[in-house]
Symmetry: C2
Subunit: 193 residues, 2 copies
Amino acid sequence: MKDEVVKLVINIFERIHPLSENLKEKIFEGSDVIHIKKKDVLLNIGETSKYIYFIYNGSLRSYYLDQEGKDNTSWFLFENELAISVYSFFTQKPSFEAVETLEDCVLLRLSFKKLQQLYLEFPEFNYIGRILTEQYYIRSEEKANSLRMLSAKERYQQLIERYPEIIKRASLGYIASYLGITQHTLSRIRSKV
Amino acid sequence: MKDEVVKLVINIFERIHPLSENLKEKIFEGSDVIHIKKKDVLLNIGETSKYIYFIYNGSLRSYYLDQEGKDNTSWFLFENELAISVYSFFTQKPSFEAVETLEDCVLLRLSFKKLQQLYLEFPEFNYIGRILTEQYYIRSEEKANSLRMLSAKERYQQLIERYPEIIKRASLGYIASYLGITQHTLSRIRSKV
DNA sequence: CTAATTTTTTGCCTTATGGCAAATTTAGAA
DNA sequence: TTCTAAATTTGCCATAAGGCAAAAAATTAG
């Protein structure tokens, strides 16, 4: 199992920049495959994010609690994507957001500490880290721009266009908060489309 | 002038990771100081972003045009910050957003091509690039989360708390679109506070 | 398979925000 | 300084989205 998962990750990395055999071995040694049930929590609010996850199977979401304690989904993540709590992992400070599974998952886990070692020992690995960070950053900008420029309905339409599976795999309540609207509004939008 | 500006940039970089003398020289050689007037355009919609800018003096904004052709500010940037059009610069594809100055500016400019050369010639420079990308990425996530979770009034209050000078340096219309609301709404929020 | 729980839809009314238009203030140019 | 243009505020009304509550549908557990 681990062989297969690590192979896939390395494959994704190598589309960005070749890896030395030594680095590949270190990635293999430093990471673990974990199996985790639906609705299990990978990171609690207030906890510092210590791991980056690669999603081999399943899906995750991260969410914030607002003033009234309602949870607002900030990201959905699926197969072949990397999952972290952006602020907490990058700064190594306590998280304002939580991360949980939406489905049973198979994840590859690498610790922050190990990752830093790899970055320092293999400077070229920073190239890959930089490119991946850029790619997720672009998606973050897209999110902000949709929220700014599009109506609730348009945001919903854009979401199902770009990530059609999201509707099958996440509940309406989660999707609504991700779009910055209430369940009721989303339900109404759907009934009209 | 150029000495002073490059020194400041390198100083900022060195807070992240030390630079070899050779790399410092290459940064100096590869970059140009440019003086540019208020309201001048650094990047047009449809154009591919070829430069990254360091703001020594002045301020910039980037903006999108919505369906009706109204412009919506996506970022404000001030002294000691780096400015790019995120999507276009990272992907080297035509930009959906434009970048213009809000004030007369003194900028340090480095081409995408030169930057890639530096990344390849000095692998450790990717470390700095990665960390900076992470920092701006965090800010992008904050923007998206504010738009999702806070009311127009709360977003305005958060903005003046975190970036108080923004009010003196950007017009209300720009600030309103950055907050995802109309000028009128922002004007009303201000009159009530 | 049935009961219990969760998720989704719907109705009614309130509130926040937008659209248009005009008045006022501020900034810029001659 | 004075004139002109741009930015900001305000009023009035329309529309989008939220709050509360309950019904309906779907999922899960026993």
